[in-house]
Symmetry: C2
Subunit: 456 residues, 2 copies
Amino acid sequence: MTDTMTEFDSILEALHQAIEKTDAAAAIKTLQQADHDETAKLIDRLSAEDRQALFGLLTPEQGAEVLERVYYFQGADIIEELSAEVAAPFVAELDSDDRADLMNELDQADSEAILEELDEDLAHETRRFMAYPDGTAGAIMYSEFVSFQADMTVEEILNDIQTNRKKYIEFGVQYAYVLSQDKQLLGVLPVRNLLFASRSQQASEIMIPNPTTVHAYDTIEELEDIFEEHNYLGLPVINKDGCLIGIIDRESTTEALQEAATEDLLKFQGLMGKEELRSMPLKVRSGRRLSWLSINVVLNLISASVIAMHQDTLEAVIALAVFLPIISDMSGCSGNQAVAVSMRELSLELISPKEFRRVFFKESSVGLINGACLGLLIGGLAWLWKGNAVLGLVVGTALALNTTVAVCVGGLVPLALKACRQDPALASGPILTTVTDMCGFMLILGLASLCLPYLV
Amino acid sequence: MTDTMTEFDSILEALHQAIEKTDAAAAIKTLQQADHDETAKLIDRLSAEDRQALFGLLTPEQGAEVLERVYYFQGADIIEELSAEVAAPFVAELDSDDRADLMNELDQADSEAILEELDEDLAHETRRFMAYPDGTAGAIMYSEFVSFQADMTVEEILNDIQTNRKKYIEFGVQYAYVLSQDKQLLGVLPVRNLLFASRSQQASEIMIPNPTTVHAYDTIEELEDIFEEHNYLGLPVINKDGCLIGIIDRESTTEALQEAATEDLLKFQGLMGKEELRSMPLKVRSGRRLSWLSINVVLNLISASVIAMHQDTLEAVIALAVFLPIISDMSGCSGNQAVAVSMRELSLELISPKEFRRVFFKESSVGLINGACLGLLIGGLAWLWKGNAVLGLVVGTALALNTTVAVCVGGLVPLALKACRQDPALASGPILTTVTDMCGFMLILGLASLCLPYLV
């Protein structure tokens, strides 16, 4: 461990010095010593000024390679620190899918400024790629593919490959695509088939006709299903006229799915699915977190207002104040468990968002049992503590009922959000917490005011 | 949507009837109509009795195919419903990695009973595979690979392939492995190289020597790094003597990473990382959830005891009761945001678990700023509500300080857990909540008792 630390520190130090001396050769040599993970950490630990200076030393190709090595949100930070004229050449060198990803991470003003600097065709293509929503095939496809006309002979194709060797090697080609005159996809040509074919055969004779295709608005889950069933390395994306517009590879699909899982986790934890790194400026970090907390403030005030309305009861039976946070927290936990099961079953497609009755039936039974257990336990403790059976009854009943409500609501909220095409990961938690808090406070304080003569 | 529902319902109905009539042929025909997702849903919707009856109708091969199609936790449920003698033949037909996964999902007693039923060699291998911890190469490798001695000629190899064609096809072989006399891995042989070689060449002449290898205890993150850098479809796993013990493929690595992400999500939501499906028995579902909630009960009682100790203050200034759940919830949210950032940076390897100072420094500044903002807001509201500036000061100061504490603790807890080799995803939330609740209640009620003369 210490060895790695020292090694990393010495690379970082060397990079620092190269930047200070504006020694491009040394900077590049240092970067080449680092693997993917180390490059990301190097970029993380440089100051914004140093990063700017570093990119001043790199050629567009070298800069693009660094951008492709680091995490995409780091790349976006770097680009935002540069002026549009300086940033554009680096952006132009990226693959079409990486370029669109990175541009979508930028503020609108920054990405517009860079698009202005790109040449017209590239800007047009980039805009088109940027328009596909997250989680669709369009968002992860790339336009760097090799295609041939159906009537080209193997001889002609081999000559074309020879001519464009360097470009094609960069694409990492496994398949070529066979197109009609008007660019419709006719078939897929595994490149090694070229070796076994006669030179005079035409592309259409040695291709695999009627290949599996996807559309730009297909979801990454649909792509994953195809990759799971078949051993393909790539999939062609066609538009509604059947024309080839891009390629998806297995790896990007997997990465996109992993990213989506991470975002779900971040959303649940109240970071709104935005990446935060500690190397970002304090203002950004603090502001992003506050913007999400502010929603929470409002929801908290709403549920606290229930307590405010019952101050008299609370004043008469001050012991109840001890149980308010317990009810709030316990019901929140119970409800979140049901949210998790619904989210999981939705993502595994074991339930459809319409199956309210099944979920309600399955959750209400768990809610009643767990509510009864928790109610008996906490109610019993309340009784023992104050020696007042009615206090125990009030606390226990409130917790039991509220657990049942929380579990049912928790199970149903993700379905309802999904049915309304909202994102269950983002909104389920806050909705659940507010409902269970309000309902819980109302139950315990309402029951207490009904039984007030026996409690004081 | 309605069409698919009807189609699924009719498949389910057909399967039901086939099971009722114990018509094996009809049951298999129905199962073959369903794709992967539908098979999982079919198994989900059958009763435990129907599932048992269904597996009574299937041959070991057919049953194993169903087990491989459904989610592994569903497979484990099915196997647990069968007796060990009935289950063993199905288990024996699974691939070595699937077999170990499934066995690890079972209760110890069940898996022991099945191991007893397997033939000795298979039981031994299964035990060995089961012993590799989750998240390591050993846990996802499989032992179905094709290997040849280094001195075998292409002629001999081709004959061997011809003889074992059917078995090898099942393995889905892309590479064969070349071994020394004592089973050490010497090289990798892409099977298509066999086509370009002379029949008299030896395996050692046409193999790729010194291939990239991994060890059984390497983590899946390390595997993913290798797959990201190289375009391999599979990786050989060797033991410390350099002998080939298994193969990892790209897909299993990806799946294992996705599973780990899901488990993290479930842990945060209080399900202890155990899969729950609504088709499981009520007792299991309710019990699993309760076992986790019970930890929460204890933690809740600890923090509520702080309130109980300050009942006098609370009785004097009942308005404080309104702010207790707000402080608890708001600080919890702020702290969880810091937990999320630390978890993320740890998993991206942008920080090491030793970098306490960096995290503390970065978090304390965010904590102070956000604490000040939230404290001013909620303190101001308290002042406005009751027209008492001191109440506002007490509430605001308590929230501001507690937010700072929560943010720092939230940032540091995952590092501390990681440094102690504990799982940050499982324990960070409960630790954070308990600390922030106790500290928050102490701050607001302690400050209030200091300022009591100005509050009543």
